[in-house]
Amino acid sequence: MYKEIISQKQAIVLMITFIIGSNTILVMGGKSKQDIWIAVIFAIAAACVLVAVYARIAKLFPEKHLFEILDILFGKVFGRIIVLFFAWYLFHIGAAIVKNISEFIRIISLDSTPVCIISLMTGIVIAYAVRSGLEVMGRLISIIFPIWITGTLVLTILSIGQYDINRLKPVLYEGLEPVISDAFRLFALPFAETVVFLCFAGSFQRKSSPYKIYYYSLLVGGFYLAIVVARTVMMIGADNLSMFMYPLYVTARLIRVGNFLEKIELISAVLIISCTFTKATVYLFSFTKGVAYLFNIRDYHRIAAPSVFLASIYSIPLYESAIEMIKWAQDIFPYYSIPFQIILPVAVWITAEIKLRKNKNTTAENPQNQAM
């Protein structure tokens, strides 16, 4: 089968967009109020440790994706059971992100359109992206990304007049506790979510370094998020931040330059939707690959449409309302994903280190035996 390869640059850009992804919609305000940017930085620091494990796994098994690695390490039967669980996780979160997009579109503009139409339309686009394959996605993102950066810069610069740095004070008023609890949430969403990239780490270019890809995108995406939350707090204040459902969209609405440049929230909406779309595509792409692996289908492109549509249909009854969706992402998701984000990769890493060392020892001993 033809092997898909994406370059290091494309992988980085894809991961940055993934990290920023749905955090433009979810988990902005929290208990830590105006210290939320500190929480983001704490989360980055914590993620740096975990990401080392991910990158190490990718390094140990070049040109292999997570499902194959599980097979090698845990055997055919047990490995497949883990793949089944992991595929469920990918499916569930992928569907949740489709729901994020459709709920966002519904609330900000198409309020009387049935939500199933919106999620199916989103599904069509995602299915098309997944079907086109990883290489096309890589190229698409490297086109979107510059536009995206320009859009963000425009919004940031235009709103500069409305910043009030005093809104970030007092720093650490409630102490470290709320900051750490928010950092935990932000650690799970989005930073530790990069575990998904192991599902196609095999497609990273041979000469690229997984460490570089992971750390570069973690730092760029993470600090971008920190700046965005700090900017939002400086514009509308921490109390408003936790009150509004889509603070990023709300701040874009406030931008007003002179008497002519106003009502430019559309830029923000496009950015939010395109970023979240990328994230959903990455999840559902990995899910499709997992399903293909489970059922021994050699060409995953074929099952792209059914699996993505399954997810977009599943997304409709997933949450009753946007409030429930946000609560779930804030309170349940971090715990829900511990097995997949922490336990599984760490187990894979430890087993891999032990097995590889054993192999090395046996291969090292063998020539000696022969010599004797």
Partner: protein, 383 residues
């Protein structure tokens, strides 16, 4: 060939799905564009919403938007907005609302329902200006005759923008007021309008500031008091400062035009007591002299600046005292304490209401007269 047929088939199948047009398709001329809202509370506990809409149906290039007032009643504000359909066919579109006039009576009962509606609805925008109407019913405001704009709401908004030349009204946007409502240690303020009769015509006049305690209107500041409030809030961008000079009988007055003003509020905590220090730095120009005292050299100017500073201090102290009496921290002193002395606030923040009443405020004005206009001496009158 097969491929092309396949593609065409795909397009055929997808087209009916995509081209069904929007569910909630709206054409601009089928909407009633609301420019301003006036919200009253009717006798029977219902809300009375008057919407000023821009009528775009005028033909031709020169057609100007005309102001049309639509009144409707409902159990809630949104109910009232939708009930307007009973009066006027296309539904009201709130996306272009610039000003929300809230009646005095409603504000005294609490503005939370209004704020909730205005922020929750996805059409309304957070940069709207809330305004309190001093008078019986807020809908009266739309009976005024606008001077420059065709539409009264636009006129009010322009007035609010323009007032920064005199700093006699505050400019508040919905989200800023919401922030004041949600944070501790600061009370909300809103500009106030009322109707006045000039030459038989009713015109709108900005007249100071409405003072809130939590979400309830509790009092007003007049224009001059508002100016001194603006000094504390560091919102002064221009305006004039009149100074009384000479003896009382002389009634000499001097006008300074403010070029630039910068205020720094610094709370400090010493011996179990919070004091606030306000440093105001003003650069001004001598603009008008209405006295016989001559201002001919630098020493005179320095003396004048000192007197002006003393008088400014007195005025600001009066405003602070007034706020302390009504126990509403419109200056955000509490917030300043929280921001710069978080530890003290944690301890004392709960009794801020009480502390604010007896708060000691030191005002240190620093006025610099940059130049004296085109004259180097006062106007000479021959003996």
């Amino acid at each position: 060939m097969k491929r092309i047929i396949k593609i065409l088939l795909y397009i055929l199948i997808i087209n009916p799905l995509l081209l069904t047009s929007c569910w909630n398709y709206r054409e601009a001329d089928n909407l009633t564009l609301v420019r301003g809202l006036a919200i009253d509370k009717a006798e029977d506990n219902n809300y009375l919403v008057s919407a000023e809409t821009a009528d775009m149906h005028e033909e031709g290039m020169e057609g100007k938007a005309k102001s049309v007032i639509i009144e409707s009643k409902g159990e809630t504000i949104f109910d009232a907005v939708r009930n307007a359909i009973l009066v006027n066919v296309p539904r009201l579109y709130l996306g272009h609302t610039t000003v929300v006039v809230i009646s005095q009576k409603l504000a005294q009962e609490g503005v939370t329902p209004v704020m909730d509606f205005l922020t929750r609805d996805h059409e309304t925008r957070l940069e709207m200006h809330p305004v309190i109407y001093q008078g019986n019913e807020a809908k009266e405001i739309f009976k005024a005759k606008p001077f420059t704009a065709e539409i009264i709401s636009e006129e009010i908004r322009d007035m609010l923008y323009e007032q920064k030349r005199i700093s006699k009204a505050v400019q508040v946007q919905i989200y800023e007021f919401m922030e004041c409502l949600a944070s501790e240690g600061v009370s909300g303020i809103m500009p106030v309008v009322r109707l006045e009769e000039i030459a038989g015509e009713k015109v709108i006049r900005l007249c100071g500031t409405a003072v809130f305690k939590k979400d309830k209107l509790i009092g007003y500041l007049d224009e001059d008091e508002t100016k001194y409030l603006c000094f504390v809030l560091d919102e002064v961008e221009g305006g004039v400062l009149t100074v009384n000079v000479g003896s009382k009988e002389d009634n000499g007055k001097i006008t300074l035009e403010i070029l630039k003003s910068k205020t720094k509020v610094k709370p400090s905590y010493k011996e179990d007591k919070i004091t606030i220090e306000i440093k105001i730095r003003i650069r001004a120009v001598l603009d008008e002299v209405r006295t016989r005292i001559k201002f001919n050299d630098q020493k005179d100017l320095d003396e004048l600046a000192k007197i002006a500073g003393e008088q400014l201090k007195g005025h600001i102290e009066n405003v602070i005292k007034k706020a302390q009496n009504s126990n509403s921290d419109i200056f955000g002193f509490g917030l300043q304490v929280k921001r710069s002395l978080p530890k003290v606030w944690k301890e004392k923040g709960k009794d801020w209401d009480k502390l604010f009443r007896e708060l000691e405020v030191n005002i240190i004005p620093d006025i610099e007269i940059v130049h004296t206009g085109l004259l180097i001496k006062s106007v000479e009158v021959g003996e």
